[in-house]
């Protein structure tokens, strides 16, 4: 299938400070049958570095999984910078965080987040949500970097 071929190239950048969360997310995405490369960064600074230099330069389609509670900067700031950058603003951003505050959700969508998912504390629900996200990732189209 051309689609799946296309998808193999898409790299998932997971910005998540909690190692445990990152591991659980990866596990469940893999369980959904998604085998794209997952790059994990644990703080905002390295995330911005990866975004603006490393990955973008590789000209490889990208998808960002963003946690809002980071040690060095707020995920909202990363989202802001991403959407303000002409080269990066088409990258789909999926906010995956513990906060389910209505104002926070609204703010993220206002800033151009594509999907907002609250991490369920209950693990069954968590696993289900991530697996469904994985299924969703396997069908969604991601724009080419230079398109």
């Amino acid at each position: 299938m051309p689609d799946s071929k296309n998808h193999r190239h898409v790299t998932i950048l997971m910005i998540e400070d909690d190692m445990g969360h990152a591991r659980l997310i990866e596990k469940n995405i893999r369980r959904a049958g998604v085998c794209n490369e997952i790059v994990h960064v644990a703080d905002g600074t390295s995330a911005m570095e990866k975004l603006s230099s490393g990955l973008a330069a590789d000209e490889c389609p990208l998808l960002v999984l963003l946690d809002l509670n980071l040690p060095d900067m707020s995920g909202v700031t990363i989202l802001e910078r991403l959407k303000a950058d002409a080269r990066l603003r088409r990258i789909p951003v999926i906010v995956l965080t513990t906060t389910d505050d209505a104002r926070e959700i609204q703010r993220c969508y206002d800033l151009g987040a594509n999907v907002y998912i609250t991490k369920p504390v209950d693990y069954d629900q968590f696993a289900t949500a991530i697996r469904q996200l994985g299924l969703f990732l396997s069908v969604m189209q991601v724009p080419e970097p230079n398109a």
Partner: protein, 497 residues
């Protein structure tokens, strides 16, 4: 407080009243002097009139005597009866006038003596007139003319006496007038002086009173300023409290979020571990089947019993912790929500809640009645949460032996309204009646689902609305929750963004 010291003001106060009192006294004195002066004047006038009357009587007497003299002389010379008549009439005027003089000088012994002497002289003169009269009757003109000198002497005597009397009266009048003038001057001086002094004192009093009024005004202004400062301070404190409250709410919110994050890991990995434990159980089963005796008892025990037990406890505890965190988040979210005051018809609100809960109520054959309710100005959402929680609780903790009844009534307390939610459920023991409002505390038999957060939530909401909630209950007979709410949501309670 020094500037408002008591002693100096009261002392000055007395001084002010003293000058004012003295002024008043002087005014009264001046008034009395005026009265005295008027009276003195009247007395003087009376004495002048008296003197004039005395003088008039003297003059009349003098005229009568002179008239009698000349008339008799005319009669003697002419023998004409007209002169005789004239003489008779003049003579008749003499005695009444003498009597008048005598009556009017009763208070004066010197004048009385003169009147007495005058009577003698006039009696002698009269006798002389009689003698001459008889001569005239008989036509003895020569004899009559010869007696004229005697008559002249007597008349002269009378005149002298009268003159003395007149002089005396005039001197007396002058003397009286002089003394009256002198005392009148004094009265005038004292009166005018007194009035002047009084005017001065009153002026002084007005000045000091005005100064006092100015001082009072200054003191009032100071008090107002201090009070204004007080209001500012209260506003400041209220602001501080609101900020502190906000801080606590934010803190609770952040803490519960940060607690959730590790909880996701604990729950996630324990679930993963359960997966592993399932595989381990299968492995144990296979080993038992294929290589019995390979596993020691303790190893088998650990893998198939202890591991699942530990995992079950971890899962139960984390699930509970998750519920508690959710409850804290819910309370902290209530505190963070901005209240919006609007007119709320409590009857309609409670009626709406009754409809929402209809399924639950009819399922348990419960009876919910709502009495007459006022309209208040408050936050609709918070009110709904309060009463929905109370109705929920009543349904949840009903007695299975009797059909549930819930009575909601209202009582007007002036600026506040007290809504009573009474049920006939299990009730709450006295020892637990305060505890049930604390978070995570529950009372009675723990046979119902819940985290013990409902009433804590209700109390937090009632307080945010500027009200309170209390409880009256008898264990086994029912509970009555009393929600007191202000009719108008206080402005200070509306949280700032």
């Amino acid at each position: 407080m020094n500037m408002l010291g008591k002693t100096p003001i009261s002392r000055r106060h007395i001084a002010e009243w003293w000058t004012l009192g003295l002024g008043l006294l002087l005014v009264i004195l001046a008034g009395a002097m005026t009265v005295r002066m008027v009276r003195l004047n009247a007395e003087q006038n009376a004495s002048v009139a008296h003197t004039l009357e005395v003088l008039a009587a003297g003059a009349a007497l003098h005229i009568a005597v002179t008239e009698a003299n000349s008339a008799q002389r005319g009669y003697l010379l002419t023998g004409h009866p007209v002169f005789r008549q004239r003489y008779e009439r003049a003579r008749a005027d003499i005695w009444p006038n003498v009597d008048r003089l005598g009556r009017m000088t009763l208070d004066n012994s010197a004048q009385q003596a003169r009147v007495q002497k005058m009577r003698q002289v006039l009696a002698a003169r009269q006798a002389e007139w009689d003698t001459v009269g008889r001569m005239a009757d008989t036509g003895d003109v020569k004899g009559g003319a010869g007696r004229q000198l005697v008559g002249l002497e007597l008349t002269e005597d009378f005149r002298n006496i009268l003159q003395q009397m007149t002089d005396d009266e005039n001197a007396l009048l002058a003397q009286r007038r002089a003394s009256a003038d002198a005392s009148g001057d004094w009265v005038l001086i004292i009166g005018v002086g007194g009035l002047g002094m009084a005017a001065m004192l009153v002026g002084l009093s007005i000045t000091t009173l005005r100064r006092r009024a100015a001082e009072l005004e200054t003191a009032n202004a100071e008090v107002r300023r201090l009070m204004g400062g007080l209001e500012d301070r209260v506003a400041e404190r209220t602001q501080d409290l609101a900020e502190a409250n906000e801080e606590i709410q934010r803190f609770a919110y952040i803490v519960s979020h940060d607690l959730r994050s590790p909880l996701v890991n604990i729950m996630g990995f324990s679930a993963e571990l359960e997966e592993v434990q399932g595989q381990a159980a299968q492995l144990v089963e296979r080993l038992e089947r294929e290589a019995p005796g390979l596993l020691a008892d303790s190893e088998r025990e650990a893998l198939s019993a202890e591991l699942p037990e530990a995992l079950a406890f971890i899962r139960a505890s984390t699930a509970r912790m998750d519920r508690l965190i959710k409850a804290i988040l819910s309370i902290s979210r209530t505190g963070r929500r901005t209240l919006a005051a609007e007119r709320v018809d409590l009857s309609a609100l409670l009626g709406g809640l009754a409809v929402t809960q209809q399924a639950q109520l009819s399922e348990t054959e419960a009876q919910l009645t709502v009495g007459p309710m006022p309209e208040i100005e408050s936050d609709r959402f918070a009110l709904e949460q309060i009463f929905a929680n109370l109705i929920d609780n009543a349904v949840k903790y009903r007695r299975d032996s009797v059909p549930l009844t819930i009575d909601i009534t209202a009582e007007d307390l002036g600026s506040k309204v007290r809504v009573s939610v009474a049920d006939n459920g299990r009730g709450i023991a006295p020892a637990d009646q305060e505890r049930v409002f604390e978070p995570f505390r529950r009372a009675g038999v723990q046979d119902r689902q819940g985290e013990g957060i409902g009433l804590a939530h209700v109390r937090a909401l009632a307080r945010r609305l500027g009200g309170s909630i209390s409880l009256e209950s008898m264990s086994g007979e029912g509970s009555r929750f009393l929600v007191t709410l202000p009719k108008k949501l206080p402005q200070t309670w509306v949280a700032e963004e």
